[in-house]
């Protein structure tokens, strides 16, 4: 079975994101970028499936500017076998990405597509679900455990109030949650090997995807600055503040 992993290059999780002066979006010039942490978990899971003999090949795909290839290399250093880069400058909406991934999945014929549950930049949490719908494949989202057995996968999902276990037929789409695994550090020999692994380029147009946005961003603003706390003298005063000042009870 081949595993296709979709990854996204985002602002590094450790960097404080800043809104552009004109409010048109988040500043990304000269900002440190990295692989979306959930995508990293998806890559790690794919590599573990291969190490466990469940997968025969792991292919990583990402759309974005030229530097996206660095992020693909990071995935190859974790242990993925090869990469596919779909060049595109500027933002892509989840639907366009899902269409791109559908076209790639049709070419690659994977038994499993793994994605992060969401990207930490726009927090859309849509691409995996859209991809499953477009392919007509079963989907299991927010996975915290994946067990593959023949042509079905048993997936433990993180849902409100607990865990849910579902079985899905393969091929399927699975989006991964934080607790699925802890991604490894790439070792130096694997970083060196990754430099020699192939990354194919496929144009969006060749995949029949129209990247034109369907949504318009009106304004991006910083969240309001957090005000200081206050001290209360009595329980009665606390209740009063919660009711009348904070309005939470």
């Amino acid at each position: 079975m081949k595993v296709l992993v979709a990854i996204k290059r985002v602002i590094d999780a450790n960097v404080k994101a800043r809104v552009r002066q004109d409010g048109s979006g988040v500043e990304t010039t000269n900002v440190k970028m990295a692989m979306n942490p959930f995508c990293e978990i998806a890559v790690e899971e794919a590599v573990r499936l291969k190490e466990a003999g469940k997968a025969t090949e792991t292919v990583v795909v990402s759309a974005g500017a030229q530097q996206t290839q660095e992020t693909i290399r990071t995935a190859l250093a974790i242990g993925a076998d090869r990469g596919i880069h779909v060049p595109h400058d500027g933002a892509l909406e989840p639907l366009a990405v899902a269409k791109m991934l559908k076209a790639v999945a049709e070419r690659e014929q994977p038994g499993l597509v793994l994605l992060g549950k969401q990207a930490i930049d726009d927090d859309c949490n849509q691409t995996g679900q859209m991809l499953a719908a477009l392919l007509g494949w079963p989907q299991a989202t927010f996975a915290s455990k994946i067990e593959i057995d023949g042509d079905s996968a048993t997936v433990t999902r993180e849902v409100d109030g607990g865990l849910e276990k579902i079985a899905v037929k393969m091929p399927c789409v699975i989006t991964v949650d934080l607790r699925l695994n802890e991604p490894r550090y790439a070792s130096l020999p694997n970083i060196m090997k990754a430099k020699k692994k192939p990354i194919d380029q496929i144009a969006l147009a060749d995949l029949g995807v129209d990247p034109a946005p369907r949504l318009k961003v009106l304004k991006v603003a910083e969240p309001p600055a957090r005000g200081g706390g206050i001290k209360v003298e009595t329980a009665a005063e606390l209740v009063d503040k919660l009711k009348n000042a904070a309005g939470v009870i």
Partner: protein, 383 residues
Amino acid sequence: MSGNFSDIREQIRALCAGFPGAYWREHDRARTYPREFVDALTTGGWLACLIPEAYGGSGLGLREAAAIMEEIQASGCNGAAAHAQMYTMGTILRHGSDAQKTSYLPEIAAGRLRLQAFGVTEPESGTDTLSLRTRAVRDGDHYIVNGSKVWTSRAEHSDLMLLLARTTAREDAPSRTEGLSVFIVDLREARGKGIEIRPIPTMINHATCEVFIDNLRVPAANLIGEEGKGFRYILDGMNAERILIGAECIGDARWFVARAGDYAKTRKVFNRPIGQNQGVQFPIARAYAQMRAAALMVERAAALFDAGERCGEEANLAKLLASEASWEAADTCMQTFGGYGFAEEFDVERKFREARLYRTAPISTNMILSYVAEHVLGLPRSY
């Protein structure tokens, strides 16, 4: 920062994030070897970066090795516990026999064999290496070695040790620089059978030792290269060591500048951040400038070394400038932190003590200046 190698740097930072200040404070307090950190570097293949691929390493150059060491220090960790595992093998690689290379290098690359101790310095001969007194006398298939070494770092945590000993008396040697030989000593066998290792408690947690050698039998097959040429063999290794330690100093300087900057931005006195005062700003800015300038020299020296060109001058200058830049940055950081700089929990005092080492070791600042004066500028020889 010297060089780029962002892929390498990123992974090192991720690895180092698992070894925060508390980890180092604990080992510093107990004066114990940071084994877990060294194991993590070993498992990740980082210490085998200079070993050619044919022997199981990554076959990279000193520039990449410098990036690794710099990033370790800039992350607040201390690579001194393991840096010698990277470069000590260079003497075997460049001057050893095929048999020595094939038997030792793959094991060193895999991390199963630690070669991170080099017995050069003696109580009676510091930088004046040629006056060392440890003698190795040929006896059939063996050499019998007697003498002692001091400041042999990591000897307790090394399986093999390279040993520099005199094989021809000074007066009988064909030239001033001949008569010394390098041997591979298997400490696992030799301890208690001719080798005694005694740790020296020091100001920092550096695992350095005295080594006493009493009728140690070393197989003649463990002689590296030709008898009597040992001094020449260790010289290029010394350049590698100086360049890498220069890179470590750059990393330290980056750590100090970053810590000082962060503290100056957030610490408020008289209702304003102390970093708003130019008296606080300027030393940090100057430390940064000195770090950047020294980093260029480290990079230049590493590039020359990798190109196989002469780099004695640059390696020495790199170590001199980088160790002074890190010391300036250390002092500035200490001053910026005020009283808190002395509190262990901020790590500044520990890093401050550690950074001081490199103005003294592996060669002191004055010895470098004397080298530059005599060999680069042609001034009269002083000793």
